[in-house]
Symmetry: C2
Subunit: 385 residues, 2 copies
């Protein structure tokens, strides 16, 4: 397998973008990545997208985006793994470059979620759970994560204040990210005072509904050196794992085995351990998710994720900065784009381009992108070349 | 890149299968392929599926199928390219094995189309066209292909009888396939007497709405030799190309440039020419599609596809047998499964296991799977090892 580098990144401000269509979002981010890479063509492309069928009545997303990007006839493949669609798309691009099949591969992620009403969006998102055993019976994603939070509180003593600390920390980071959908700072009290969505999750524990896209350009590491346009970043580890889709078949609601499995594969491939990672973008679709994921990735002891957030361990300037971008919570969560947006953030951090939220001296970073309640997880580890 | 072989195939009878769920369909075909390969595990899996969101309210299809197949935590990735989803899934599996990332990769395709009504199915299928310029304005897939047929008739003199000859030939083949949804024989007169759907396409020019799944097992060619269970078949060429998604941006409605492009890539990779191909499964979603595709693949001269079908050139026993399985027309067209089902047919033909429809002495075969009105096309060429 060939070594693979990231030579370009692109992302526009996330938000409720009624003036831009599904295809506009993708093309905007993709053109920025192509310009950033300084290349004049691509050989192949991937699009991570969760549910364009339900959100905008459009399937056949790969060719649509290749067409509007002016890149047809290159191969263009859409991949889907619910909210991990972007991360899985990155992995497919990584495999294609590593295989020798293609040199310049564009990987984009996109979702246009605000063209439908709230009920329709809630239904579309619920299709990431088990339709027959969960969604059909009326449970929504806030409801599912509320059950995980309750179990975590019961087993480990995690508190509402600790959940809220995650949200406050991510908004603090997001206030330094000009591309964030909700860049305002919030306090722990703001979260606790906000409306309850699914006990114990308040609305400020939940990531928002977002329109957005992000893109990166991959190529063989050798070619990246030759092109020499921007500080290239190497992908040194890629892990992908699955778990039971529904809760009723899991042994423990406080564990996310697909996350630990995908991380252990990526650690092994890269030769790194949790101690080597200097910053990580994790899948904080709800505050409890960030707490559980930081535990599964090995950054904190099992059950101590909430306390770590409260103590500032995961803040900018802390021992292990998590979600310097603002995370899904403040930056926004256009589901299919999220996994690619995480790669954009870590690449910019490793290039030293993150301005007010720069982690000083960062040379090794990680992303973790999750689908559903953890039935799929993708982890990537990157290092400055 | 490593050489890649097919060591197992699985497919159950296609049809209107109300007694089986979406996941049942996939698991049935996948278990058969695993048994056929004689392996006790897989390392990774792909699922080709077009629109499970609109057909059965389920996204996050990769982990769902890995879970119900008992294969979690292996990586499981769903790929979508409308009716070419299955072919694109095969290509992703091919790239993963070729790259060295995984040894045993399951590739399945599935669609459950009959749980919704006819209007909803027509809407779901229309999302393979351009939602903003085509579907939103009311055009359906029979309407789009009727425009292609009319253009082909105008430019080349293709007749309704020639279209009907394709349907009659495919049902003749399908009558020899125990897994076909509609195995009855039909005549040219039957087609011409059937109800008009979109002039000049009668209902018997159209492939049906189908539930079904198919699966194959891929591995490195070296490993296939070691396992030695079944006659392995090597994938010697893989081509994937895209085109404008909407008609209004195409120069010529009688051409399918993504088909010729994907074929030329696969021919080049394999070192074969159209004359070397002994049988081919093509994407006959409508009879005109088969005619146009046989032209683009180089089997007949441009404009002569209809005449070739009428003269029996593409029949079993003809110079270039097309759709020995019965094609989408008679075998059925569960959209995400079709590209994988084509691989199952060609593999069985190359193994000499096709009974009454066996092409004698077949050693080289091809599949062509198409999305939308030709905005995506995937071609694979296989040879007996």
């Amino acid at each position: 397998m060939r070594d693979v580098a990231i030579i370009g990144v692109g992302m526009k401000k996330f938000g409720e973008l009624w003036e831009q269509s599904f295809r506009d979002l993708f093309v905007g981010a993709a053109l920025e990545a192509i310009k950033d890479a300084g290349v004049d063509h691509i050989d192949s492309m991937y699009v991570g997208c969760m549910s364009s069928g339900l959100f905008v009545g459009q399937e056949h997303v790969g060719p649509l985006m290749a067409d509007y990007l002016g890149m047809a006839p290159v191969p263009a493949t859409r991949v889907e793994s619910a909210c991990a669609s972007g991360g899985v798309a990155v992995r497919q691009g990584f495999i294609e470059v590593a295989s020798g099949m293609s040199d310049l591969v564009l990987v984009g992620g996109v979702e246009k979620m605000t063209d439908v009403g709230g009920d329709e969006a809630t239904y579309a998102l619920a299709t990431a759970s088990d339709q027959e055993w969960e969604a059909f019976n009326g449970v929504t994603f806030p409801g599912l994560y509320a059950m995980m939070a309750t179990a975590h509180m019961h087993k480990y003593g995690t508190t509402c204040e600790q959940l809220a600390a995650v949200a406050a920390k991510n908004h603090e980071n997001g206030s330094r990210n000009p591309l964030a959908q909700f860049p305002m700072k919030i306090t722990i009290a703001d979260v606790l005072d906000s409306v309850m969505v699914a006990d114990p999750l308040h609305i400020l524990d939940c990531s928002p509904i977002t329109d957005g896209a992000a893109a990166i350009i991959l190529c063989p590491a050798d070619l990246a050196k030759k092109l020499g346009k921007k500080a290239p970043v190497k992908i040194i580890g890629s892990g992908h794992a699955t778990d039971t889709i529904a809760f009723h078949q899991r042994a423990d609601l406080t564990a996310l085995p697909a996350v630990s499995k995908s991380a252990s594969i990526a650690y092994k491939m890269s030769g790194k351990t949790p101690k080597d990672i200097q910053l990580c973008e994790v899948h904080d679709c709800f505050t409890i998710a960030e707490i559980m994921v930081t535990e599964e990735l090995g950054f904190v002891e099992k059950g101590k994720g909430g306390a770590a957030a409260e103590a500032g361990v995961t803040a900018l300037g802390g021992k292990m900065p998590i979600n310097t971008s603002g995370g899904l919570k403040s930056k926004g969560h256009p589901v299919g784009a999220t996994g690619v947006a995480q790669m954009v953030e870590v690449t910019r951090q490793l290039r030293g381009e993150s301005g007010e939220r720069q982690v000083k001296g960062a040379r090794v970073g990680m992303t973790q992108n999750m689908g559903g309640t953890g039935a799929s997880s993708v982890v990537h580890i990157m290092e400055v070349m």
